[in-house]
């Protein structure tokens, strides 16, 4: 019958346009790394000598919280959803830790409380999306309001106790070993490996892809969607909390709106990394590279002396361009 009579592409034969396109589609990480390489070369051209290991260290350090939040988005987007509450949860978490500094238990107690609060938030979101079938955009949007409001209330309650960012957290979030390797990698690397493992090697990961690709087929094969979604949003919230800790440590700021400006970039990183917002397609390696690409672009633009404004314009344009390229390439058949 009518079948794709493609050669499997082993070995390097003549790279036709079609071959490039299937490369892009099946292994998007390669062109992504290529893009990163180009950006680094351009950075070096603009400011010769800037691309050093120190520079790389700073980039990675800044990318870590973003990459974690983008991981939350990747997981949610694979199911065809999105998590707009990650910013509020992350901010809340960092903030809660800071308020515990002078309280009994100190900041470790703060971490436990924050994680617990994130867990509850994730549960509520998961129940809303999984059981009540509320659209994830709305549910997470609503939760971001709820969390923000409650965090503000917490602020008023705890304002007398005073607080601040604990030095241990500052060290974790902003210090670098040998001035190069950020200590936050101690937290990030296991987390990233966990996410990669989940997505590639576990039945649960397959369920994420299945629900995003075709929820009806998943259901008919025996998948209980609400279970998958519940676990998803709980995980997302807890990862967001961890990102919040690191972000607070990095910026030395504890505020309930700290991470607000990272929500959209987290979605952007996932999109650039090749995860489709319609679900069923994508992965975390691309997302991580996407996060680094966004940081490199940021750095490139500031070394070019371009104001924040131009950075934003270029950010947006690049996202559209990359997403358009992905769409063109993946809808070819």
């Amino acid at each position: 019958m009518m079948e794709a009579a493609q050669s499997e592409g082993t070995g390097r034969r003549w790279m036709t346009a079609a071959a490039w396109r299937s490369l892009f589609r099946d292994r998007p990480i390669i062109p992504l790394l290529g893009l990163l390489g180009v950006l680094m070369i351009v950075s070096n051209l603009v400011r010769p000598g800037i691309v050093t290991s120190q520079w790389m260290g700073v980039i990675v350090r800044g990318a870590v919280p973003l990459a974690i939040l983008a991981g939350c988005q990747t997981l949610a987007m694979l199911t065809g959803g999105i998590d707009l509450s990650v910013g509020a949860v992350a901010s809340m978490s960092g903030f809660v830790v800071a308020t515990f500094v002078h309280s009994p238990g100190g900041w470790p107690a703060g971490i436990v409380v924050a994680l617990f609060a994130a867990l509850v938030a994730g549960l509520v979101t998961g129940i809303g999306v999984g059981v009540f079938r509320v659209h994830p955009l709305i549910m997470t949007l609503g939760m971001s309001f709820v969390v923000l409001g409650l965090a503000n209330v917490w602020q008023l309650i705890k304002v007398q106790a005073g607080g601040g960012v604990p030095p241990e957290l500052r060290w974790l979030g902003s210090a670098q070993f040998a001035e190069i390797v950020p200590y936050s990698l101690l937290v990030f690397v296991p987390l990233a490996l966990l996410i990669l493992l989940i997505l590639r090697r576990t039945g649960y990961g397959r369920m994420l892809y299945a629900i995003g690709d075709n929820p009806v087929a998943a259901r008919l094969s025996g998948t209980r969607g609400w279970q998958v979604l519940l676990v998803l949003y709980v995980m997302s919230a807890m990862f967001a909390a961890i990102a919040g800790f690191l972000l607070t440590g990095l910026t030395n700021v504890a505020s309930v709106t700290l991470a607000d400006s990272t929500v959209l970039p987290s979605v952007a990183a996932a999109v650039i990394g090749g995860t489709s917002i319609m679900g069923g397609r994508g992965g975390y390696t691309g997302t991580m590279v996407g996060a680094i690409i966004l940081m490199v672009i940021s750095s490139l633009l500031s070394s070019l002396g371009y104001p924040e404004a131009v950075r934003q314009v270029l950010f947006g344009s690049i996202i559209v361009a990359v997403a358009a390229a992905y769409t063109r390439v993946t809808s070819d058949t």
Partner: protein, 534 residues
């Protein structure tokens, strides 16, 4: 009105279309004369739907040209097609669900009076135009669609499976109306697989196979066989002969507990009261016209819908399903007709096959990759799936896709298989492979419930068949007696000697054609050669 030099109203030549490496159309052609009703036929995968999309402007061809009324057109959208004189009526009514009928008509600028005229011709006299399209029954929507098309008097009217979802009385009217257009100066392209209807209203038939036009046949008494021959190609009669049926005298053994017992199941609005027994190693066929409750029956058995009365027993023990997972645990697995419903199109063959296994919460941890690969490879081999394009299931052909949906259950061992029209729209070779597989599964101890709209399959695959009409079982027929005619009669709930509505409709149309409006085409039953216009 202008006609081409060759006297054709519509002419498509050399149409080809490829999607990447998949060739949907190689070189298709279609020639429609003024005043004729022209059938377009071909199995799914033959390129019929692609040709339809090209004619209606939904898709641009890679090569070839389309000439309407002598003008070569490049048609980019249904709107442009309409302006060129070609109007299509699709299988899914092109009505906006959230608008009422009047707004829908306004949207397409349909003139109301002619619309109402055609509506009553087609058998719907009093339609409340302020009804929301969403709340209007499907059959009515299809008639509305047709009346809309007729109201603007198109040169060429293309009907895609027009009678598919219609009850018998509306089918009769539709065929009548179509038949009356013969001999005029406008034409109809009639896409259908119902031979009786084609015999009743069509003048000629173009047959597609594997992306090419393989023949144009004058429709008359003996043409059905010729048409089937053309559709099947060199596979010959294709279908395995009766003696190839299972030797081990099938059917249930009287003593053993039946695998599945249904007692007075009722669900939804259409399933009223169905009872039957399905034994181990048995293949039980289900036959029914559209919408008699068979959809609901299978949904209940598969666990995706709840029965509101009746009971279900598996191996003699009562069960109650709240979710497909419950059914699967009880051993009931479901193969759907609509592959889009059953497959993860963007995922690989492997992920699709492994899906039910991993769906269980207890398997959410690390996957045994090697074990999985082995199981998947076995399933692929058993079903002879051609998985060269296996990275994304959507790139497989329809037949291979269907095999994947079956493979996912075979991989885990099948106890009870519920097949809902599994061979719909699939090429002959794959159909045969599926028949053989079903019988082998039964022989190995599975119980199979098979609903099919292709009545020939019953005798080939099943041990016996139950016929459902009006949500109830009206007949149970042994395979030996389950020939197509008997099944069809039972499906219409008729006495053995009564005439079926399809035949009655056909006869009416033929009779009408025999009456002269002007020059009389003299025809035998079911045929009419269009006389040249004066």
């Amino acid at each position: 009105m202008t006609v081409t030099a060759t006297g054709l109203l519509l002419e498509a030549t050399g149409i080809s279309k490829a999607y990447g490496a998949v060739v949907a159309l190689r070189s298709a052609s279609l020639a429609v004369r003024p005043g004729e009703v022209h059938a377009l036929m071909g199995a799914n995968g033959a390129g019929k739907s692609t040709l339809v999309k090209i004619l209606t402007g939904a898709v641009l061809p890679d090569s070839g040209q389309i000439t309407i009324r002598g003008n070569t057109r490049r048609v980019h959208s249904p709107d442009e097609a309409r302006r060129s004189g070609l109007v299509s009526v699709y299988q899914e009514p092109a009505l906006i669900p959230d608008l009422d009928i009047r707004s829908n008509l306004r949207l397409t600028q349909t003139p109301i009076e002619p619309f109402r005229h055609w509506l009553s011709e087609l058998g719907i006299a009093d339609l409340d135009l302020s009804m929301a399209a969403r709340r209007t029954p499907l059959a009515t929507l299809r008639i509305i669609d047709l009346a809309r098309a007729l109201a603007i008097e198109p040169d060429v009217l293309m009907l895609d499976e027009m009678t598919a979802a219609l009850p018998a009385n509306l089918t009769e009217r539709v065929l009548e109306v179509i038949g009356r257009r013969r001999g005029g100066d406008r034409s109809v392209i009639f896409i259908s697989h119902r031979m009786i209807e084609i015999g009743a209203v069509c003048d000629r038939a173009t047959v597609l196979r594997e992306g090419e036009t393989v023949g144009v046949v004058d429709v008359n008494a003996g043409s059905e066989e010729r048409i089937v021959e053309l559709m099947l190609g060199d596979v010959g009669q294709g279908l395995p002969a009766r003696d190839q049926r299972r030797e081990s005298g099938g059917g249930r053994s009287a003593e053993a507990t039946p695998r599945l017992t249904a007692r007075s199941l009722a669900a939804g609005t259409k399933l009223q009261d169905v009872s039957f027994e399905l034994g181990v190693s048995e293949v039980l066929g289900v036959v029914a016209l559209e919408g008699q409750g068979q959809d609901e029956l299978f949904d209940v058995l598969a666990g995706s819908e709840r029965a509101h009365s009746g009971e279900l027993l598996v191996d003699g023990r009562p069960v109650s399903f709240h979710h497909p997972a419950d059914a699967i645990r009880a051993g009931l697995v479901y193969v759907a007709a609509d592959r889009a419903e059953a497959l993860l199109m963007q995922r690989s063959v492997r992920e699709n096959i492994a899906l039910p296994y991993l769906a269980d919460v207890r398997r959410w941890a690390l996957i045994d990759l090697r074990g999985e690969q082995r199981t998947v490879d076995e399933a692929v081999a058993t079903l002879q799936i051609d998985a060269r394009a296996g990275r994304e299931v959507r790139r497989l052909s329809g037949g291979n896709q269907q095999k994947v949906t079956i493979a996912r259950w075979v991989a885990g061992g099948v106890r009870t298989l519920l097949c809902f029209d599994p061979t719909r729209g699939i090429d002959i070779r794959t159909k045969q492979q599926i028949y053989v597989l079903l019988r082998e599964l039964a022989q190995a101890g599975a119980a199979v419930l098979l609903y099919t709209s292709d009545l020939k399959e019953i005798q080939l695959v099943c041990d016996r068949a139950i016929v459902i009409f009006g949500g109830r079982v009206v007949s149970e027929i042994d395979a030996a007696n389950a020939d197509e005619t008997a099944l069809l009669r039972a499906a219409y709930n008729l006495r053995a000697d009564a005439r079926m509505p399809e035949q009655a409709a056909a006869a009416t149309v033929v009779a009408a054609a025999a009456e002269p409006p002007g020059g009389a085409p003299v025809g035998g039953p079911g045929s009419a050669q269009p006389e040249p216009e004066r």
